[in-house]
Symmetry: C2
Subunit: 201 residues, 2 copies
């Protein structure tokens, strides 16, 4: 049953919930987003284990077309397709406050392409902002391994500016408007230390 | 491609995200939970459209075993299985606060069986309580069409009591400890009016 992906790694279906999402990223975007997702999931597991926060990645929605019901066995989905999510990928609670974010990465070194985000994700972020939730994106420049937190209001503003032909966010603006995240081992991407400083003061 | 379920209704794969979840409930629990889920999704759409809250049902996690990549076409999942979620089904933000809940229904008239909940859902609720999130369950007695909000701390307490051989929550206790939800058309289950009264005072 093992499937080999273009990167030569076998797909392991026996991992716990959430692992399937990597497949989705691979399918949709090649290898883009892979390691960032792993690092964030690992960080969230750390936060959960330490009682710091409860933040999970949402499962990817699938459009199910055909299901078999073998006698005395579990239902088997025989035909389904990956769907675009209508929200961001991550949400949860940190000290009573609602946390909501999307994580993306680029190989670019000087700017972050806005095509990484979808219209409905931006719309969702605007809705969360209106409800006074804490909403942001984590942006990784993978070539230099830098991760920034950029508040959703800035991202939404850059998104609107696209109509004026700017299709990416210059890294220099991210450095000014965003916040660099400390990288480590436990947790790998300590974004909540930054969230605490920005939104809880 | 249409599939007919035991209730005689055809499965329509063309609905938007979230519809697939009904399939899951049907598969796992027969028809149990169906209309409650529809009513809550409809209520959440109302809240979203009115700018009252941003609350979504999470997609059901699937364990993907086999994926085909037809040339020039979208990836097709050829073998997958329904997985148990590790969190509750619904979460989101309401006036800055984190909202998290599970919705269940019973045909019983005098008590609510605890087997409707899974251990990992209770564990998730405890984690959310520790983070000071607003966490509860919506319990419908379908035979009499009454829906109650029961705070998660009570549910977790009843859950722990199971060891003392009590396998369900008497309805009389739900009436005392919980809060009856007003039912209507827009929204069908106005649980946020109750949330506001309990948690925002």
């Amino acid at each position: 049953m093992s499937i080999r992906y273009p990167n030569g790694k076998a797909y392991s279906p026996m991992h716990k919930e959430g692992t399937q999402l990597k497949t989705v990223n691979k399918v949709s975007y090649g290898n883009r987003g892979m390691s960032l997702e792993e690092d964030i999931n690992s960080s969230n597991e750390y936060y959960l284990a330490k009682g710091i926060a409860v933040i999970h990645k949402k499962p990817t929605p699938l459009q199910i077309v055909k299901v078999d019901y073998p006698k005395r066995s579990a239902a088997v989905i025989k035909e389904a397709y990956f769907q675009q999510a209508s929200t961001t990928d991550y949400n949860g609670v940190f000290e009573g406050k609602y946390i909501d974010f999307e994580a993306k990465e680029t190989k670019n070194k000087t700017s972050f392409p806005l095509k990484n985000f979808h219209k409905h994700q931006i719309e969702h972020m605007r809705q969360v902002i209106n409800q006074h939730g804490i909403c942001f994106s984590l942006l990784r420049f993978s070539a230099i391994d830098e991760v920034y937190l950029l508040d959703a209001k800035h991202l939404c503003s850059f998104w609107s500016d696209q109509e004026n032909s700017r299709k990416s966010i210059p890294k220099k603006e991210i450095e000014v408007l965003g916040h660099v995240i400390p990288l480590g081992l436990y947790p790998r991407i300590d974004y909540l230390s930054i969230v605490k400083g920005i939104y809880f003061s």
